[in-house]
């Protein structure tokens, strides 16, 4: 029961994150650019790709056959997000995470990182159940 609930929450969170970004793509593109890691074209492509990736993964999280691959992928994605955040932090950039568009208040670097870690642990935990 708890597992079912966790699963719902987790995939809900990622679907939400994906849709929020899709609704304001230029803003998300700007968020990616602010990290100063990618040029304009890759940022544009990524801003189109990432929301759909999040949505696909969270839907697959609920299917039996794709669950494990989707979990692995999500953990990888969260790691990449965290790396991006750390690199911005280290370079002294003041970026907004961009994780949930403009809809949620910014958690700051540490907050976003802890959140990512928590999500990763949840995904790993859930992947162990069929």
């Amino acid at each position: 029961m708890i597992i079912l609930l966790l699963r719902l929450v987790l995939s809900g969170v990622f679907i939400y994150a994906g849709i929020i970004k899709l609704l304001d793509l230029p803003q998300f593109e700007q968020n990616i650019l602010n990290y100063q890691l990618l040029a304009e074209t890759p940022s544009y492509l990524l801003s189109l790709y990432l929301p759909w990736l999040e949505i696909t993964l969270s839907i697959c999280l609920k299917t039996r056959s794709y669950r494990r691959e989707a979990s692995l992928f999500l953990v990888g994605l969260l790691t990449v997000f965290s790396l991006g955040l750390i690199s911005a932090w280290v370079r002294g950039l003041n970026v907004e995470c961009g994780c949930f568009g403009e809809s949620l208040p910014d958690f700051g670097y540490a907050g976003s990182m802890i959140r990512n870690l928590a999500f990763s642990l949840m995904v790993i935990y859930l992947a162990r159940f069929k």
């Binding site: 040029a39 492509l45 759909w52 990736l53 696909t56 692995l72 992928f73 162990r128």
Partner: protein, 157 residues
């Protein structure tokens, strides 16, 4: 990677119900490709008719487009695309008559500045869009892309 590949074979032989079944490369590939397809679709739907960038190949494919160079005066004097009009927000009042004299109704207008990083082509595009000039394009990669084509190198992806 090796593990994943052999895993793909194993999963075909084993039943799907096993908790510890290895990852299927095929499924991972689907997970990668599906969002890419959706992203492509999105780009087709949401691409703004004006202002979204045009690739250097598409730009050079226009037979009678009007080119605008929005870089600084020094850069323009050094070199510019053949036939391009020099127009940016700094010389707007002086150069607008030249643009108006050359521009034909429904003629495509292609605007470039130094690279992808500069803002001036976008600003000129916004002004011309206000006036109803269409179709209007910003050259992706700007002058750098034009230079690469001239040097016969393939443009960066």
């Amino acid at each position: 990677m090796e593990g994943g590949r052999s895993g793909a074979r194993v999963t075909h032989n084993l039943s799907h119900g096993q908790v510890n079944a290895p990852y299927s490369l095929r499924r991972i590939a689907i997970l990668v490709i599906a969002p890419a397809c959706l992203a492509t679709l999105t780009s087709l739907i949401v691409s703004k008719p004006d202002g979204r960038k045009i690739s250097i190949e598409d730009a050079l494919g226009y037979s009678n487009a009007l080119w605008i160079d929005a870089r600084s005066a020094e850069d323009f004097e050094k070199n510019h695309h053949e036939g391009a009009i020099h127009l940016n927000l700094s010389n707007w009042d002086r150069q607008l008559p030249e643009f108006l004299a050359q521009w034909e109704l429904d003629q495509a207008v292609i605007i470039y500045c130094g690279s992808d990083d500069c803002q001036s082509s976008l600003q000129v595009a916004i002004r011309l869009q206000e006036a109803g000039v269409s179709p209007l394009h910003i050259l992706h990669g700007g002058w750098e892309a034009l230079q690469r084509i001239k040097a016969n190198k393939t443009p960066l992806p």
